[in-house]
């Protein structure tokens, strides 16, 4: 999105806002803010044990926040008139995201540096850098991070298959819609259901059809989750099965938007199919490819459902993703503090990694597309 100077849509301010209207607007805003602050303080002191007075839980504070947020939105119009109406387009979403992300993130920083077992009666205990120290010695967390690299690398294969399928669908074929819908279907399925359908039943070692096929092909004792390598591959295959259609659709859209003239020109110039693909189609598809792969990486970094339901990270953590590892860390030990710190470190790694990757890919795309 390009930065804009001034509004794209100009509006004319009709009438001025009277001083009393403005006054009541500010008054409502400050009253609701004061109410929210007061209820927040009251409940904090109640939780800290300073006062007996307080509510059973923080719900009333939340309501006060809602009221303040609603008043804030409404008073935009009361105080600023037409300009306030413009602000109202973005304000609700911004308030929502800030209160749902920024505030919990700050809270996470507070939780991450404490020893907090939800099951224990002692409650939260600040423990400084202990969690960080524990993390550095945690071989399983490191293992989960390395697994994420493997899982991310599997995207190369997924991308190749998705590109192949997109090329197939862009050929002159009958019943194109049928094939497209068929290929799209796996994307509709929940990873949990896929975990059962494929992971637990089709890959079941005794009766599963794939196990039977493997036995028929000469694999004596097919076990897909027995040793680390095959287990990891099985998880990758299941995840790929659900998400290949996603990349396929994006690449297909890219292929369909390629200009006919360029392709025909290449054909007239006598380029073979192979040359046409590598020297014309592939470079032209780079921007779309980068978008598709980036979004895919983002989704891959959240990989957890299949692992939690099928292998629970086993054997010996070989299939653990960071998310499934932290999930079990919480489920088994209900240690919120340590889990939160691990998640925060993961977030930092992701942000740094993604920024670098976007920069590098931008440069590559510029160089490649600049050449032709």
């Amino acid at each position: 999105m390009s930065t804009m100077e001034g509004d794209l849509l100009h509006t004319v301010e009709t009438g001025s806002i009277s001083a009393s209207r403005r006054f009541w607007g500010y008054a409502a805003l400050w009253v609701s803010a004061a109410w929210f602050a007061a209820s927040f303080m009251l409940q904090s002191s109640h939780d800290l044990g300073w006062t007996q007075l307080g509510f059973e839980n923080w719900r009333p504070v939340l309501y006060a926040y809602f009221i303040w947020a609603a008043v804030l939105c409404a008073t935009r119009v009361v105080i600023h008139g037409e300009a306030g109406k413009k602000a109202l387009f973005v304000l609700p979403a911004a308030l929502f995201v800030v209160s749902m992300v920024v505030f919990p993130l700050l809270f996470a920083l507070w939780v991450g540096f404490s020893d907090w077992n939800l099951a224990s009666p002692t409650g939260r205990q600040f423990n400084g850098l202990d969690n960080l120290r524990q993390m550095l010695g945690d071989a399983f967390y490191l293992n989960a991070l390395i697994n994420m690299v493997y899982y991310a690398l599997a995207i190369v294969v997924e991308y190749a298959i998705a590109f192949g399928l997109a090329l197939l669908l862009s050929q002159e074929i009958v019943a194109r819609k049928f094939w497209r819908v068929t290929f799209l279907l796996p994307l509709m399925l929940s990873p949990v259901a896929v975990g059962w359908m494929v992971g637990k039943s089709m890959l079941e070692t005794r009766f599963g059809p794939i196990a039977r096929l493997a036995r028929w092909l000469g694999w004596e004792n097919p076990s897909f989750f027995g040793d680390p390598l095959t287990a990891k591959l099985s998880i990758m295959v299941m995840d790929a099965w659900t998400f290949i259609p996603f990349m396929m659709i994006m690449l297909l859209a890219g292929l369909q938007s390629l200009s006919r003239e360029v392709l025909e020109a290449a054909e007239v110039d006598g380029a073979t199919k192979w040359q046409r693909f590598w020297q014309v189609i592939f470079p032209l598809m780079l921007p779309v490819s980068v978008t598709a792969v980036m979004i895919r990486i983002i989704f891959k970094l959240k990989l957890a459902d299949i692992i939690i339901t099928v292998t629970a990270g086993g054997p010996g953590g070989a299939t653990d993703s960071v998310t499934s590892f932290i999930y079990r860390e919480y489920r088994d030990r209900s240690n919120v503090g340590y889990g939160t710190l691990l998640a925060l470190v993961y977030l930092v790694i992701i942000v740094i990694g993604m920024t670098t990757m976007i920069n590098i890919s931008d440069r590559i795309v510029k160089r490649m597309t600049g050449r032709i």
Binding site: R180, L187, M197, I249, A253, A304
Partner: protein
């Protein structure tokens, strides 16, 4: 002589064309089998009995006689429908939860996201140092936020706010999860509409809100539908937050399916029936609304 050569050339061309056709359709059929077999397997297994499962029978009516065993255990077979069934009640409860939560979250996300995307596309904002592009980036960057980062803080906060195992709590989380995607799609939609339309509407005396709701919304309705459906699919399939933040009251379908998988000695037929019942709604959505799904997924990707 030249004529014969020409003929030979044409024949070779045709042979090559046929070979190409063969390869293309061969690959198409192969991948169709890869895509559909797990579905077929699950659906057919839900009609099998124990010996059929163990023998690995695949083709119904030829290999095995379909039976309602799996569906009966779920209380959804024709003869069990008239009787009361606790499993069916639970299943319907979860189905309703899933529908309500994903529907409400998607609707909320489309509402908030459309407004934000429209505002960011038409007006210039300044919030401290943040300008339009920064605010856009702030919204879209939420996409890379892994759920696990927010999961445990949410767990603790929700416990304090008594929001655990409530509809509101889960709807809020799901709205947050799909909001960046909705904004991404809608931004693209609004960009295709010329500003002159609203200018004309403003001249005719409509306010900005009037122009938005009466002129713009009808025009981007298809885009909103696409965004809604994509959000719906993501919410319907979500498991991680549902597993953490719900316990008995507002469990969604994936949580029910996962909890059944965990138990030892599961009945294949009933698990298959449960999985089938869980995925069928979305399979229908996929088949019927494929156009919108594709429109949603490709928005913003291709310029």
């Amino acid at each position: 002589m030249a004529a014969i050569d020409f003929d030979k050339f044409a024949r070779r061309q045709r042979a090559r064309w046929w070979a190409m056709r063969f390869v293309v359709y061969g690959l198409l059929v192969t991948w169709a089998i890869v895509s559909l077999f797990p579905l077929f397997w699950t659906i057919s297994t839900s009609f099998k009995t124990a010996p059929d499962v163990m023998k690995g029978n695949i083709v119904p009516w030829y290999d095995f006689t379909p039976s309602w065993l799996g569906w009966r255990s779920l209380g959804l077979s024709p003869d069990a429908l008239s009787q009361t069934s606790t499993v069916r009640d639970e299943f319907m409860h979860r189905l309703w939860n899933s529908a309500l939560i994903s529907g409400a979250a998607s609707a909320l996300a489309v509402f908030l996201g459309s407004l934000a995307a429209y505002g960011l596309g038409r007006f210039s904002y300044k919030f401290g140092h943040m300008r339009n592009s920064d605010i856009s980036f702030f919204f879209l960057s939420q996409l890379i936020m892994p759920p696990v980062v927010l999961a445990l803080p949410f767990l603790v906060l929700y416990k304090q706010l008594a929001l655990l195992d409530t509809f509101g709590g889960l709807i809020a989380v799901y709205t947050l999860m799909v909001l960046p995607i909705v904004i991404w799609i809608m931004r693209d939609q609004f960009a295709t509409i010329p500003v002159e339309l609203e200018e004309a509407a403003l001249v005719d005396g409509l306010s900005i809100w009037g122009a938005f709701s009466r002129i713009i919304v009808p025009l981007v309705a298809p885009g909103m539908v696409a965004a809604f459906i994509l959000a719906l699919i993501l919410c319907w399939n979500e498991y991680f937050f549902a597993a953490l933040l719900t316990s008995t009251n507002t469990n969604t379908l994936p949580v029910m399916i996962a909890s059944q998988t965990g138990s030892q000695g599961i009945n294949w037929w009933s698990m298959a029936a449960l999985s089938t019942a869980g995925i069928l709604p979305l399979v229908f959505v996929g088949i019927l609304l494929e156009k919108h799904i594709i429109a949603g997924m490709t928005a913003g990707a291709v310029k």
